[in-house]
C-alpha cells in the first residue's frame, strides 16, 4: 500500500479551506489552510508551512538556549521532544518528515517507500547506499545495522518506551530480549524485510519514522548495550548531517554532551549531502542547558544568533507577539492537552457527571490562561490538526450533535441538567464523596487547575486540589491507577507520528491500563470503543485508517471518556539573525538540519 498521493492531499486542503471559511476567526488572528492538509495556521506569523526551507546562508554557529536537560540522546531510547531535536539532526531513521509535513514521510535511510504486502504482514525496505557512520566507525551503513537497531528495542538494557506499542507485531518480538528478532530479516546488505505475525503492516510501516530505526553498528555498540542500562548514548555515532562532538574513541559524554550544562553538534565529516534531502546549513550548534524559561526567552528576543529550544513562556508571549513578531514562529500540531477523569473510581464513573463537567467548563478561559488564541485552539475531540483523521473526526468544530461540546465558554445550566440526569435532582452533586485533583504546579497548569477546581465546586463537588512537579504528578499519581486520583487536569499528549492510532489507542483502549506508567489516564474501558479501536489497528490504507480512527474518536467524545481542552500551537523564538525552521511534527520544535543564519 502506498503513501497518501499528492492529489488526495490537495483535495483535503480544498475541503478544509471551505471548512475554515465557514468557521471564521476572531481576536485579531485567523486560521487559514496551508500546503499541509488540515493544518490551521495563524495569519501574520511564521509557521513551518510557510517558512523558507533553503539555506539563507551556509555555515555559522547557532546558539541554542534550553531550559531543561535532555532525557536520553540514545536513538533507541529517546522519546521526548527536546531529545528529538538532537536525535533527528544526528541520526537517520528509515523515514523522516520534512519540517513542513507531518503525514508524508520522506525516505531517509530507506531508499524508497516501504512495500507492504497485500495481507498486511510483510514490509520490504531498500536501504540507501553510500551513507556512512561518523567517526570512529566510519564504514558504510548496511541493512544489518538497521536490523540491530530494531533488535535493541527489545533489549531490557535499552528499554525502548514504544517498542511494545508499535513493533510487537514483528514475528518473535514478544519474546525478544535484545538478540536477533526472527521477523527482522536482511537478505542482503541493502534490503530489510520485516515479517509480522499480525496484519499490522501499515502501522508498523508508519512507525519506521521513529528514531529506533536509526542504524546502530553492532560491532561497536554491543559492548555498551551489555551494560545495564546501556551507555551507548554516551558513545553514539551518527548517520545524519551532524554528530555530537566526541574524542577519538567515540566518547561523547563530557565532550559533546555535558549533562545539565551543554551539548555541541558539529558536522559529521562522513555525511554526504547527495545522499540526504536535508540542507544542513549550519556548521555548528551549541546548546546551553539551564536557566529560567522567562529569562532565556528575553535573552533570545534581544539576540542575533540564538534560538529558544523549548516553547515561549506565556509571560513573554505578548511581548514576542506584539513587539518581535518576526522572531516568533507558531507551529500547529503541537499536541494537545486534556483532563483525565477517572471512569473507574469515584463519581465520574457516571457518564452524565462527566458530561456535566465538560458542559460547565469554560474552555475559552482555560485557553486564555495558556496564552490565548495564538497558541491554543479549542479542542473538540482528540485527533488534532496534522494527524490523519482530523477532519473525519469533525475538524475544528468536532462531531455534531454533542451539546456539551458546543459551548466552549461553559454552560452551567446545561451542566446542571446533566447532573440531574445523573440522579441529583437539585442539579448539584450531593454525593459527598471527596474528589482528588492532582495537577502540575507550573503555569498555566496551576492556574487551569484552580479554574477547574472552582468549576467542580460550583457543581457541588467536594474537592481537594494538590499541585505537584510535573514529573511527580505523572510518575507518582496520575500514571498510577491504584492512587485512584479522580481528576488529572494537566495531562497532554503528542502523537508519535501522524497516524491517529498513536493518539487514541494507548490513551483510551481499556487493554492498555497499566499498573504503572499508565497513560490511559481516565482508565477508560468501554467495550464498544475498545472493539472499534482493536479493529482499526488492523486496517490498512491511510484513508481507511483515518476514517476508522475518526469513528473511534467520535465515540470517545460521545461517552465523554475525558475532556479535551486545547490543541497546541507551539510558539518558538529565534534571534534576529536566525532563519529558524520549525518542525510541523515533533510539537513544532526547531529543526537544526534545516535552520540557517541570515
Amino acid at each position: 500500500m502506498r503513501w497518501l498521493r499528492p492529489i488526495g492531499a490537495l483535495a483535503l486542503v480544498a475541503a478544509f479551506g471551505l471548512l475554515l471559511a465557514a468557521c471564521g476567526s476572531s481576536g485579531g488572528s485567523s486560521s487559514s489552510t496551508s500546503s499541509e492538509s488540515s493544518v490551521p495556521t495563524v495569519a501574520g506569523f511564521k509557521s513551518p508551512t510557510n517558512e523558507k526551507l533553503s539555506c539563507v546562508t551556509k555555515g555559522g554557529t547557532l546558539n541554542v538556549l534550553q531550559e531543561n536537560d535532555f532525557e536520553h540522546l540514545d536513538p533507541g531510547i529517546a522519546y521526548y521532544s527536546t531529545d528529538y531535536m538532537v536525535v533527528f539532526a544526528t541520526q537517520r531513521p528509515l523515514y523522516s518528515n520534512k519540517p513542513n509535513t507531518a503525514s508524508e514521510p520522506t525516505a531517509d535511510m530507506a531508499a524508497g517507500p516501504p512495500e507492504i504486502s497485500s495481507n498486511n504482514e510483510e514490509i520490504k525496505i531498500k536501504i540507501r547506499e553510500g551513507v556512512h557512520f561518523s567517526p570512529p566507525v566510519n564504514r558504510e551503513v548496511t541493512s544489518e545495522d538497521v536490523a540491530y537497531a530494531i533488535d535493541r528495542g527489545a533489549n531490557p538494557n535499552v528499554a525502548n518506551p514504544y517498542f511494545q506499542s508499535y513493533f510487537s507485531a514483528i514475528e518473535g518480538a514478544e519474546k525478544a530480549t535484545g538478540g536477533p528478532i526472527p521477523g527482522v530479516k536482511t537478505p542482503n546488505k541493502h534490503e530489510l524485510v520485516i515479517k509480522l505475525d499480525q496484519p499490522q503492516g501499515q502501522i508498523v510501516a508508519d512507525a519506521l519514522v521513529l528514531p529506533l530505526t536509526a542504524a546502530v553498528p553492532k560491532e561497536y555498540a554491543e559492548k555498551f548495550d551489555k551494560n545495564k542500562p546501556s551507555n551507548y548514548g554516551s558513545y553514539q555515532v551518527a548517520t545524519g548531517p551532524y554528530m555530537l562532538k566526541n574524542n577519538a574513541e567515540g566518547k561523547v559524554l563530557g565532550i559533546g554532551y555535558i549533562p545539565g550544562k551543554s551539548a555541541t553538534l558539529i558536522r559529521n565529516p562522513n555525511w554526504k549531502a547527495s545522499t540526504d534531502y536535508r540542507p544542513a546549513c549550519l556548521n555548528e550548534i551549541n546548546i546551553k542547558i539551564g536557566g529560567t524559561g522567562t529569562v532565556l526567552a528575553e535573552q533570545v528576543l534581544n539576540s542575533t544568533n540564538d534560538v529558544l529550544a523549548e516553547g515561549v513562556p506565556s509571560s513573554v508571549l505578548k511581548t514576542a507577539a506584539t513587539q518581535h513578531k518576526e522572531q516568533l514562529e507558531l507551529s500547529p500540531g503541537g499536541g494537545m492537552h486534556y483532563i483525565g477523569v477517572n471512569n473507574k473510581v469515584g463519581p465520574f464513573k457516571n457518564e452524565d457527571l462527566r458530561k456535566a463537567f465538560w458542559a460547565a467548563l469554560n474552555k475559552e478561559a482555560l485557553n486564555k490562561l495558556a496564552g490565548g488564541k495564538l497558541v491554543t485552539i479549542n479542542a473538540t475531540h482528540w485527533i488534532y490538526p496534522t494527524i490523519s483523521g482530523f477532519e473525519q473526526a469533525g475538524g475544528l468544530k468536532g462531531p455534531s450533535g454533542v451539546d456539551y461540546n458546543e459551548h466552549p465558554e461553559g454552560d452551567q445550566k446545561l451542566a446542571e441538567e446533566y447532573v440531574k440526569k445523573a440522579g441529583y435532582p437539585s442539579g448539584k452533586y450531593t454525593g459527598g464523596e471527596q474528589i482528588s485533583i492532582v495537577a502540575a504546579n507550573g503555569p498555566p497548569a496551576k492556574e487551569r487547575a484552580e479554574v477547574i477546581n472552582e468549576t467542580l465546586k460550583n457543581l457541588g463537588f467536594n474537592t481537594k486540589l494538590s499541585l505537584e512537579e510535573t514529573a511527580t504528578m505523572y510518575g507518582k499519581y496520575c500514571n498510577v491507577p491504584k492512587e485512584e486520583i479522580t481528576v488529572c487536569p494537566s495531562v497532554g499528549w503528542i502523537a508519535d507520528f501522524a497516524d491517529a492510532q498513536t493518539v487514541l489507542n494507548i490513551t483510551f483502549n481499556g487493554k492498555y491500563i497499566n499498573a504503572t506508567g499508565n497513560v490511559n489516564w481516565s482508565q477508560a474501558n468501554n467495550p464498544e470503543i475498545n472493539a472499534a479501536m482493536d479493529k482499526a489497528v488492523t486496517i490498512s490504507g491511510r484513508s481507511a485508517r483515518a476514517t476508522a480512527w475518526a469513528e473511534a474518536d467520535k465515540k470517545i467524545v460521545e461517552h465523554a471518556l475525558a475532556i479535551p481542552i486545547e490543541w497546541d500551537n507551539q510558539p518558538n523564538l529565534e534571534g534576529t539573525g536566525v532563519n529558524g525552521v520549525g518542525q510541523l511534527w515533533n510539537i513544532g520544535s526547531w529543526d537544526y538540519a534545516w535552520t540557517s543564519l541570515k
Binding site: 524559561g293 486564555k368 490562561l369 496564552g371 504546579n441 496551576k446 486540589l465 511527580t472 492512587e483
Partner: protein, 326 residues
Amino acid sequence: MSTTGAQEIAQPDEALEYLELGEAGVTARSPLALFWRRIRKDRVAMVSLGFVILLILVAIFAPLIVSILGLPGPYKQDLKLLGPFGEPTGPTSANPLGVDNLGRDILSRVIYGSRVSLMVGLIGAFIATTIGVTVGLMAGFYRGWTDTLISRAMDVILSIPLLLLGLGVGAACSVKGCLGGLIEPGMPVIIFLIAFGAWPFVARIVRGLVLSMREREFVEASRALGASDARIMFREILPNLTAPIIVYASLLIPTAIGIEAALSFLGIGIRPPTASWGQMIADATPIFSSAWWYFTFPGLALLLTVLAFNLLGDGLQDALSPRNAR
C-alpha cells in the same frame, strides 16, 4: 524586673522615671507604667505598634473591609479581566491594586492574606516560645544530664535545614497526607515547622539566663524556705525573664511570617485558593515584567509587616531593658 529583689538604679536621673508625684506624694510607677512611658517616647516603635494593631484589625475584619470597599471576594475568579494573552490587568477603579493571573482582586487577597500571616506568625511564635521557655528553664535549672541531653537535642534540631524539611514533608505528604492524613501541607504543618525549628533558639537564650540566675540570693532564699523546683522555676526565676522572652517572641513573629512566605513560595505552604502573600509572590514572579502590581503589593505588605514587627521588637527591647538601650 525582679519581683522580689530591689530595683537596680544605675544613674541618679533614672530614679525620677520610677517615681510619680501624685496626691499621696511620691509613689513608685508600676512596671507597666514604666514600660509605657519609655515606649511612648520611641516614635518608631509607636508607629510600628500602630501598624501591627491596624494589621490585626484588618485580619479580624477582613470580610467587612472587603465588603465596605466594594471589592470582589478573594476567591472570585473573573477571567474576563485577563488580556488576550492571559495576562492580568493592572490597577483600575474597580480593582485598585489590579488583578492576579486568575482575575482575582489583589487588594482583596492582600487583605485576606494578612490572616494567614498573622495566624502563622502569632501561633507559631507562641508555641515555639512556650516550648522553648519550658525546656530552657529545665536545662538551665537542673544542669547535669538534663542540660546535656536537652542541649544536644537542640543542637540536632538547629542543624536541620528547615526549608528542606518543609520541602520533604510537602513532597511526601502532599496528595494523600501522612499518618493517615494527619500531616498534610497547609497551615498546621507550617506552624509545626516554625515551632519545631524556632524553639531551640528561645530555649538557648532562656537556658543561659537561668544558668546565671539560679545562683542568685533570691533563689537560695526560696530554696531555704522549702520551695519546690517547679515553684522556684516558674514563680521566682521565670518572672525575671519576662522582658527578654517578650522581646524575643516579638522578634520571632516576623521570622515565622517570613518562613511561611518562603514555604508558600516554594509551593509547600498554604494551598490554593487560600490567599497567602508568599504564594502570591511566587505566582507573580514569572510575570513580573508584565504584571508588576501582582508582585509589588503582596511584597510590600510582607515587607511592611516584617519590618513593623522587627521595629516593635527593638522598641520593646529598649523599653523593657533601658540599660541595654544605653
